[in-house]
Amino acid sequence: MGEAALSALASLTDPSLLVMLLVGVVAGLVIGLIPGLGGTGAVAVLMPLTFGMDAPQALALLIGALAVVHTSDTVAAVLLGAPGSASASVTMLDGYAMAKKGQAGRALTLAFLSSMAGGLLGAVGLTLAIPLARPLVLSFGSPELFMLTVLGVALAAVLSRGNVAKGLTAGLLGLLLGMVGTSPTTAEYRFTFGSLFLGDGLSLVAVALGVFGLAEIASRVGQRGKPEQIVKVGGGWLDGVREWLSHWTHVLRGALIGIWAGVLPGIGATAGTWLAYGQAVATAKDKKEFGKGDPRGIVGPESANNSVEAGDLIPTLLFGIPGGVPAAMLMGMLLTYGVQPGPSIVTDHLDLLYLIVWSFAIASVLGALLCFLSTRGLARISLVPFAVLGPGLVVVMLLGAFQEGGQLGDLWVMLALGVFGWLLKSTGFPRAPFLIGFVLAVPLERYYFLTDTLNDGFGWLLRPWVLVFLAVLLAPAVLRLVRAVRARRNLDHDDEDRQPPAEEEGELADSTWSLFTAFGALAVFAIGFLTAGSFSAEARLVPRLICTLGLLVGAYLVWRELRRRTRRPARQPAEEVPKLAPDVKVAARTFAWMATFLLLVTLGGYVAALLLFVPAFLLYVARARIRVVVVYTLVTAALVAVLPLLLPVHLPTGILPSF
């Protein structure tokens, strides 16, 4: 084995291979910057280039891109609060919080260095894991995979900012939304209300960019001048490295969790990144900074989401079971070279296997280095007023969401989810559990169903890994309870001071809006419960379970809101409404702008629509100078028009031109 490893390393000194690797890395970084394209976009753009290449060159190209996509997708998540993937939403929690405090450069430095280490450790792990992968994968049956999905959603609900009841509600709503489409167990359509368009479920990119990206724009577009806080862009590279080094244990732990989770096909990437965040929070002595810009909240997950990519290659190569679309495309390419993924790859193509490992390691270092060097430039984005960034971001994000399904309907769904995300954010519901719930809904249902039908009774609850996951699941809840009881005892009369500041809880928390949202959630669960009545028994089981839980938590929320309202007026008489109205107005108007843009797209196509939307927004909302408006619009239009020539990007076409 060692010999093959060394000869693979030696072959990478071949300049043509290195050039391919570099091309792949640069392409991967650029594509990762655009929220919504991700690994699938990277492989799709590079795949046609590989026709006619030898297998090693082609592999170097694709692996180079795959290894770094999750390095650069951090940029949008940290700077703009727009994660293009479910795992980037974890980094966003602390990264975006840090960037809002004016430390974007620090957040990016930590993230890039962790990505690099995660990739490197992932490659090492990939090498070592090859002999262990088979027993590990075989020891994970349906019950274990089911517990892992539950753990993913539960950790997100418990660990996100805000309180647990709100987190759970958001997570359950996400699970319910994820069930729109074809049932994984009976192939019947659920919650599609007769629309074939909804039959495949909603697009992840549309959900992620809507709930986070559009919502963020709506709530920050009121900011027209320069950001008030002094933004420290640089801070010295050495300082960054030094700070990062002080968290090395978190880097290591994150990477290990990532490799381990990545090996499990299908659910690894999302659950793994949350587990990494979860363990960082659980093992920290001082937890109160998490979610407000704690470096440990960036380092662990970011290291994990790159090593997950390496782990993900194991099921692809060793079992022929790709963990995601990019891996599936990679597998398709291997087939055209006559390489059959499967257990025999270790004996038949060990050299290629090591080539993949080494390419992965080198690409991680290269990618992180390039990003690291451009941190100062990137961080400057946070100096631009959000109102000016807004229209460009709307154009890019909607275009990104259009790529997955090529349907205009996705964009309307995304806008609706933007409104929903804004409501969640403003009323203090964490949005990360919502997204994680959405991603894990189908696997959760699938494995629950399989667990239930393949095992008699509840004996599976006693399987060792299940017990471990149950312990991890319940430990924080028990700890929290203990701490809450203790805190109540000690700080009984101090209760008012412990109310988190308004900004953290969401601007509209405790207002009529908050009550409205709680009632809305309750209504959604009730409707979901009733609608599920028309499904077959198998397809009804899990949605009903989720709706029942949702009704319980939702009822508790409503009760709490009502109780607060009856108590509140005595202390703070009617202060909230007039103060909050402008925010709501700005958001409502921004969403109206976006809807107008979509209408224009439907009519005249993407380029024509943006030629009107961008300058109008800049003039009347951002009040930018004329010169800025003209240059900004022309550059955006030119880039969007040229993009389809360079990348596998499709522009929506309008109905007017075809007359």
Partner: protein, 388 residues
């Protein structure tokens, strides 16, 4: 738009004032003109009429419509075959694969049937995912393979195997059991349907568990002992099954076989030693299979295996254009260099594009009402699936 007034609350001294009204209107007017121009430029490409009846596709672009997601088996097949095929078409037209996924392939195929140009510049890719719903007459399906013209088809095969530890040593252990074997499946209305019909034909009672993500996970579940029965297609067999047969974990039982030109089931060249489903029937029952179950089996075998993947053009496409495209596919299929390169993608089955293909495919794609009735009945009574 010009009377958008900002609320005074958000306005602070640090913020820029509104631009001059006249300047703003001028800027917007210019961009309006540009937008109209952009909208019109986009429509230009629709104006030129393609000429594909002269045996030369110079300057054309052939769009290959893949109704499923990028990266899957069908996508890989279509991109590989399509690319090679267009190189062989005289005039070397551009090759534009388009993934129009959604509704398990139904949305894209519906759209093709509704609006594809009838001149050979758009080609549809079909696979079992889109064919089975058509057989079952699902209400969402608005296309009909009988009104499309096949250009090229490529088959696959498959075989059933079982977990030894479940007490299976050969096909005789499939019947007369005290406890039914557990079969792992994805969905009763997909490719699994052919296997379910085979079980029904042979009188094998199984406990079928659907909901697996793909055949790979079923294979792993079998190795873990969660399921007892599974099948794999030819391309996955070497990686998924070979090694566990060698170490005695699993035992191969039967292959689905292939349809020959006369529509009879013959041995699969990729599983020469395994008996086919009708042969197993003879072993177990002592007579040749007949009746609706066997007719349904043969129909499904043709649709989901022997002619599993195909490329189609609309019915009214000029004969010359069809001929040009089909001849290119035939040329590619004969080329030994391509055969060698494509061995893994094609799964070891020939690329068929001869002139008699249309007849064979038409026969295979003719589904008798009795066959359909039997299948719907089987799904309803044994698998609790109600359709239509």
């Amino acid at each position: 738009m010009s009377n958008v007034v900002e609320s005074p609350v958000t306005e602070t001294a640090a913020e820029p004032g509104a631009p001059r009204r006249s300047a703003a209107i001028a800027v917007m007017a210019v961009f309006l003109a540009l937008a109209v121009a952009a909208a019109l430029v986009g429509s230009d490409q629709f104006n030129r009429k393609p000429s594909t009846t002269d045996g030369d596709f110079t300057g054309e672009t052939v769009e290959v419509m893949i109704p499923l997601a990028a990266g899957g088996g069908t996508d890989t097949w279509a991109r590989f075959v399509g690319q090679e095929m267009m190189r062989a078409v005289p005039g070397q037209p551009g090759f534009a694969p388009v993934n129009d996924e959604g509704g398990e392939g139904i949305i894209g195929t519906n759209r093709f049937a509704r609006s594809a140009p009838k001149d050979g510049t758009e080609v549809l890719v079909s696979t079992a995912t889109t064919v089975v719903p058509w057989v079952l007459r699902r209400t969402e399906v608005k296309y009909d393979f009988n009104s499309l013209v096949p250009l090229v088809a490529n088959g696959t095969g498959g075989a059933v195997y079982a977990r030894s530890a479940a007490g299976v040593r050969g096909v005789r252990d499939l019947i007369n059991r005290d406890h039914p074997l557990t079969f792992g499946g994805i969905s009763a209305t997909g490719l699994d349907l052919t296997t379910l019909v085979a079980f029904d034909l042979l009188g094998v009672r199984v406990k079928a568990v659907f909901g697996f993500e793909g055949r790979g996970p079923v294979n792993l579940a079998l190795q873990r002992g969660e399921v007892d029965l599974d099948y794999q297609t030819t391309s996955a067999w070497p990686s998924a099954v070979k090694s566990i047969i060698q170490d005695g974990t699993a035992v191969p039982l039967m292959s689905f076989g292939q349809l020959d030109a006369n529509g009879e089931v013959v041995r699969d060249p990729n599983f020469p030693k395994l008996p086919t489903v009708p042969e197993v029937y003879r072993q177990l029952r002592g007579s040749a299979p007949t009746g609706p179950a066997f007719e349904a089996y043969k129909t499904l075998l043709g649709l989901t295996y022997t002619y599993q993947k195909a490329m189609w053009v609309p019915a009214d496409t000029p004969v010359e254009a069809v001929h040009t495209l089909r001849a290119a596919a035939a040329e590619v299929g004969q080329d030994p260099g391509f055969r060698k390169k494509a061995d893994k993608v094609l799964g070891g089955y020939p690329l068929e594009a001869d002139e008699a293909l249309a007849d064979r495919v038409r026969n295979a794609y003719t589904v008798d009402e009795s066959v359909r009735g039997y299948i719907l009945d089987l799904l309803r009574t044994q698998y609790n699936v109600k359709l239509g």
